[in-house]
Structures are given as structure tokens and as C-alpha cells.
Amino acid sequence: MSDILIVSDLGKQFGGIKAVDGLSFAVREGDIHGLIGPNGAGKTTTFNLISGFYKPTHGYVKFFDEEISGLRMHHVARKGVIRTFQHSTLFAELTVLDNVLVGTHMMFKPSLTAAFLGRERQSRAKAIERANEVLEFFGLQAFVDQLAGELSHGHQRALGMAVAMASQPKILLLDEPFTGMNPEETQTMMGLMGKLRDTGITLLLVEHDMTAIMGLCDRITVMNFGKLLTEGKPLEIRNHPDVIEAYLGKQKNAS
């Protein structure tokens, strides 16, 4: 399988602090790829650099051989790179269905003239169809008319992924998807990710908690202090002395 996302010599500096410093790694098509590291390792910054939230100070990100770093976020999204956010970032005041409809925005581009003339029914029906498909996929079809803000935590996280899914990503970037979840919700979420991969979507997830994603990922990239620490299969990572030290050392500092 080929690499679809290539991060090369990526760097981001905030004032004098190098949050990400010369990071390079690649994500293979169809993989679930984990990006882990202790707190403050620069994972979320990397994520923000890939999704266009920040502009890199140096280096680049290529997606299907096309440079996407430096593009604005919605342009990156239009290339098929869709991200989710930490915590439950949703349109809390809109219904579950409307949340996902916003996600279909790119497939069914709204037209002003159609809106003026009230000629939107067809494309809207298609968008709703697509939204319902996605909601079914995530097991949310029972909640379509509920406000997103009223859902349980686990359902909110699923809805966050549903919104991203509705935009038909080629690669889905998930930012700490397991944070704040109980074991049962974690299990469901892991099942969902497996299902997503089976539909042909590549997944890149950032996670602080290493154990949660060991069983899930095909490959794992470990960061520390903004740099690449190591990369490999879960088993290799688990036993890698540098990784153990990075995590243990961090724990020592914390205590």
C-alpha cells in the first residue's frame, strides 16, 4: 500500500518555543495510524499543522502528492482531509440531523439562486439521505431530531465523527477520541473505527493514552519534544526502550 499522507521536516515555532521540530512520517492508505507521545510532545500542534489550523514555520505536508500545508482549513478539508476536535465540539444548538447536514456541505454545495427560488428540494433530499446513512452507520438514527447538546458524552463523540464522515473524508484525523470515555464507550468507539477503516477510510489518531490504541493501530508514530522518537508496529513500540523512558521519565517529573 502506498503512502497517502507525507509529513516532511515539519516545524512550528511559537515565539522562541519549537512546538514541532523537524518531524517526518508517512501514513499508508487504509491504515489506522496512531500519533502518540507524552503531554506537550507536539501531537496536537502537528495535527493543527496537517489540518490547516496553523501554518508551518518550515517543512511541508503532502496529501496524494499535493502539498496541503499552508492552505486554509476549509481548502484542506476539500482535499479530503477532515479532522475532529478534542472534547465534544459540535453545533450544540442544532439538531443531530442538522449537524450532519452541515457536514454534507461539500458534496451538495448550496446555491444562492436555488435558495432564492426555493428550488433546493432535490439536492436537499439527497443531502438528508446521505446524512441518514451516516447517522445509521454511527448508530445515531434514533436521535435525529434531538439537539446535539442534549446527547450523552459517548453519543456526542460519535456525532462529531459522523459530521466529519458526512464530508466524505479520504483521511480522518481524530484528536484524542477516547478522552473522558468509560470502558464501554471506548469499546464502542474502537468498533466504530474498525468499521470506518473497512469502508476504505484512512485514520490518523492522536492519543495521549498509549494502551488505548495499541490493539487498534496498524502503525504508530511516537513523538517527544516536538521530534520523532520512533515509529513502528504496536508491538515494537510497546517494547521500545526510548518510548518507555519517555513515558516513564514524564511520570517521574509528574510525581
Binding site: S51, F53, R72, M73, H74, A77, R78, I82, R83, T84, F85, T89, L90, F91, A92, E93, L94, D98, L101, V102, G103, H105, M106, F108, P110, L112, A114, A115, F116, L117, G118, E120, S123, R124, A127, V163, A164, A166, S167
Partner: protein, 331 residues
């Protein structure tokens, strides 16, 4: 949902009859007020479209002025026929708003509010400063009225407030239908999305800046149209017609009525105008308009932050429950 269809139809019919009959029961000056009220409904409704994206502007009234000045100048200086100049005036407001969107949408929230205020004041001061072509502080006078329409058997004279009211009413209703459709469309949904979580919207491929700009341009265009309706009725415009005090009135209508529904600002506008023109005029306290408006503004922010529309919503729910008792599960 489909059950109360005949009821809704009936109430629309009733509303239409009321709107048609209304001016005939009024005095001449009240008819004039009715014309202004109709125009103001368009101003406040177009303002609401912008607030859907979460931004509150203090320059909206100046956009109305751009339409009014534009249409007046196109007829006076270029000899453009009035109906066409009105459309051009509205478009001018849209274009100016588009131009202003570049600096203004680098700001958000309070900064946008202040920025829009500054931009509006600059435009207003330009009208005041440059006698040619804007007429300086005294503005533009003797603007062509809307031309009479002669059907042969009947001649419609738009100097008559009743006729102009019908004309304005038709235009305003048309605009409201368009505004309503925009809101109910996918574009309207995206406006809401931009309001509540702009980063999330952006991450799904929504060009947030473009949608903000779109809302600003549409709202300014309709405000501009309202301005042209005003200009060709009163026949004169000057910078003070579009000053911050007028803007505060628009703000008050929107806040008192509420902005989550399309009817909220309209209710606010009608009720406050009625209060002003009927109650204050009757007791001879017209001078007290700012006093009353100010107190109402404070009171509604403090005690009724959801606006009058919330009261209407509850009444509708109550009526539904009454009519279809048992069939509606809960609110």
C-alpha cells in the same frame, strides 16, 4: 405537522385581509407611519439575517442610507428611471458591504461591532463633508417620486400613502419570502453553523469567511432596498436620517422581538412603533421616545433576553395543545 394546514391557511388569509384593509381605517398621518413601519420591517428583518452568523453590526442603518443615497443620485445625476435606480441603489449597498467585508471580517464580536460602527460613521461623514454629490449636511432634496402607473382606466398615484403602502408592502413581503427561503435553505443552516462553531464548520470544508461575507452582503442589499423605498417616498435624504440613534432603534426592535425566529424582529418593530405612535402620541410624550426606548431596551436585556418571540412561541404551543389535546406529546 400537516394537520393544522387549513388553520394556517385561514390565518394567512385573515392576515392578508387585515393588511389590505388596515390603511383605510387610519388618518393621513397614521398612513404615513404605516409606510415607514413597512419599510422598517424590511430593515430589521434584513438585519436579523446578519445576526444569524453571530455578528452584530452597528453599520446596518448606513447600508440603508447607501441604498437611499445611491438611488437618489442615480435618478438625479444620471437620469435613471426610478424603478431601475432603486434596484441599482440596493445593489450599491451590497457592493459597498462586500468591500467593507475585507477589513471588517478580520474582526469578530465586540471588535466587529466597533469596526462596523467606525466604517458606518466614515461613510456618514463623507456624505456630510462632500456637498458634491452628496449635498453635505442638508443632504439631497427633491428626489424623484416613484412614477405614477397609468392603466388607462385607473391611475395609481404613489404620492398617496395608501398606494405607496401597498407598493412597499408587496416589495417587503417579496423580500421576506426570499429571506425566509435563504434561512430555511442549506445556506441558512450553514449560517447557523458558522455562528455556533466556526472552527468545526471550517473543518468540514465550509469557507467561513465567504459565508460571513454572504450574510453581510445580502443583509446590506435588502437594507439598501429599504433605503430606496424611503428615499422615493419622503423625497429627501440627509446624513442624520441614518445616524447611530436610528441604528439603536433597529437594535431595540431586534432585541425586544428576539432574533431566533423570522417573526421576532417584526413583532418588536410593530409593537414598539405602535407604542410610540399611538400611546406616546396620545399622551403627548413624543419627545420621550428615546427615554421609553432606552428603558425598554434595558428592561428587555435584563428581564426578557429571549425577546417577545418567546412569548409568541409559548402561546402557539398552548394553542396547539388546546386544539390537538393529547396528540402532541411534549414540547
Amino acid at each position: 405537522m400537516s394537520k393544522p394546514q387549513p388553520l394556517i391557511l385561514l390565518s394567512f388569509l385573515l392576515l392578508a385581509v387585515v393588511l389590505i384593509v388596515l390603511p383605510h381605517g387610519l388618518s393621513y398621518s397614521q398612513r404615513e407611519i404605516l409606510v415607514f413601519l413597512t419599510i422598517n420591517i424590511l430593515v430589521v428583518s434584513s438585519y436579523r439575517l446578519l445576526t444569524l452568523t453571530g455578528e452584530w453590526s452597528l453599520g446596518h442603518i448606513v447600508m440603508m442610507g447607501v441604498g437611499a443615497y445611491g438611488s437618489a443620485l442615480y435618478t438625479k445625476e444620471l437620469g435613471v428611471p426610478v424603478p431601475i435606480s432603486m434596484i441599482l441603489g440596493a445593489l450599491t449597498a451590497g457592493i459597498i458591504a462586500w468591500g467593507l467585508s475585507f477589513p471588517l471580517f478580520r474582526m469578530k464580536g465586540f471588535y466587529f461591532l466597533i469596526g462596523s460602527f467606525a466604517a458606518g460613521e466614515i461613510i456618514r461623514l463623507l456624505w456630510k463633508r462632500f456637498r458634491d454629490p452628496f449635498g453635505g449636511p442638508k443632504g439631497i432634496k427633491r428626489i424623484d417620486p416613484f412614477p405614477d402607473i397609468d392603466f388607462g382606466f385607473v391611475r395609481i398615484d404613489f404620492f398617496d400613502p395608501v398606494n405607496y403602502y401597498y407598493f412597499a408592502l408587496i416589495i417587503v413581503i417579496l423580500c421576506l419570502v426570499i429571506l425566509w427561503r435563504i434561512e430555511k435553505s442549506m445556506i441558512g443552516l450553514t449560517f447557523h453553523a458558522v455562528h455556533w462553531q466556526d472552527k468545526l464548520a471550517e473543518s468540514t470544508g465550509v469557507n467561513v469567511r465567504a459565508y460571513r461575507t454572504l450574510a453581510l452582503v445580502i443583509s446590506a442589499t435588502f437594507a439598501g432596498l429599504a433605503g430606496t423605498l424611503l428615499a422615493h417616498y419622503i423625497g429627501t435624504v440627509n446624513p442624520n436620517v441614518f445616524d447611530i440613534e436610528q441604528m439603536v432603534f433597529v437594535l431595540t426592535w431586534a432585541i425586544v422581538g428576539g432574533t431566533t425566529t423570522i417573526y421576532g424582529p417584526i413583532i418588536g418593530c410593530i409593537i414598539l412603533t405602535a407604542l410610540n405612535e399611538i400611546v406616546l402620541r396620545e399622551i403627548g410624550l413624543e419627545q420621550g421616545r428615546p427615554l421609553v426606548y432606552g428603558l425598554i431596551l434595558i428592561a428587555s436585556v435584563l428581564f426578557m433576553p429571549k425577546g417577545l418571540e418567546d412569548v409568541v412561541k409559548k402561546v402557539i404551543e398552548l394553542m396547539k395543545q388546546h386544539v390537538f389535546r393529547g396528540r402532541i406529546k411534549d414540547v
